[in-house]
């Protein structure tokens, strides 16, 4: 029989693993462990792919997504496109603990977080500003737009849709891998 308890997480984010383990060892629930572990990654800004100051969008803003699920009750708390709040997994836990809903998004999720006592602050850092500036310098490449004008593979926006969409190819889902840009 394999030993329990157990913590497993994607990527070699060891401080997050350790934080989750510490929570379990201290008598916390698996939910507490997941919340603590993910929160540690948010503080550490793991790999630039978690937490504030990473992955700026087309406007240069960092927004956060998080979700937590209880395998006993099947309860879920989730937030997406969360603005100005660093502790996204904490807000997801608050959605689970303090609402009968499952998933809050955008500005309204941020207002919910504020009402639950989470600190509202800018998620921009010098690093995210630098990433954004470089992207602008590269004429907004890489770019997720398609079938718009001007050509999004060569130019920044604003964009408008082009008429007469080309036939969709299944290979259009294949993209170049950026190990520091992932969900």
């Amino acid at each position: 029989q394999p030993p329990l308890p157990l913590v497993v997480n994607t990527w070699p984010f060891h401080s997050a693993t350790q934080a989750a383990w510490k929570a379990l060892s201290a008598g916390g629930s698996p939910l507490d462990a997941v919340e603590r572990g993910c929160a540690q990654c948010e503080v550490d800004q793991c790999d630039g792919t978690v937490g504030y100051g990473g992955s700026p969008d087309e406007s240069g803003e960092t927004t956060l997504d998080a979700m937590i699920m209880d395998g006993n009750t099947m309860a879920v708390g989730a937030v997406a496109n969360l603005r100005r709040i660093k502790n996204a997994i904490g807000v997801a836990r608050a959605v689970m603990d303090h609402t009968k809903h499952t998933f809050l998004v955008g500005e309204s999720a941020s207002l919910f977080a504020e009402s639950m006592g989470f600190v509202c602050e800018d998620l921009t850092t010098n690093r995210s500003l630098s990433i954004y500036s470089k992207w602008l310098d590269l004429r907004c490449q890489p770019n997720f737009r398609k079938n718009v004008t001007p050509d999004p593979t060569k130019s920044c926006g604003p964009y408008k849709p082009v008429r007469g969409l080309p036939e969709e190819k299944t290979s259009s889902l294949q993209k170049e891998v950026d190990l520091h840009s992932h969900d």
Binding site: L4, T10, G51, H180, D183
Partner: protein, 141 residues
Amino acid sequence: TIGMIAVDRNGNVATGTSTNGASHKIPGRVGDSPVIGAGSYADSLVGGAAATGDGDTMMRFLPSYQAVENMRLGADPTTACQKAIDRIQKRIPVFFGAIICANRTGSYGAACSKAPGFTQFHYSVFKPDLSQPLEEIVDCL
């Protein structure tokens, strides 16, 4: 992105994810991480799973839900993860993605999809008798 599975000594399972998403995304875009069954899924009767990678692709296949269902049908965690990746590859032969799986008795595994610049996936584990996290590596399919 981090995706995490925690199992206590009684086999209670929880999962979670946290991310700032894809760089240079269109404002308003949300990936797979906060989507139930895509970013992660948990069922204490079976186990849990969490995914990472290109969320625009992965969220269309609910790989975490699929992996947990694979375990429910008797697959060990590694096989469950591999089958979830394989199901996506059947439609999208090359994509950037990985998934971790653990069952309620403490077995765990992972799988990933080989893509240019991504041939192995590293993940982190803590279990009894370890004094620090263990880094596991899996070759991508």
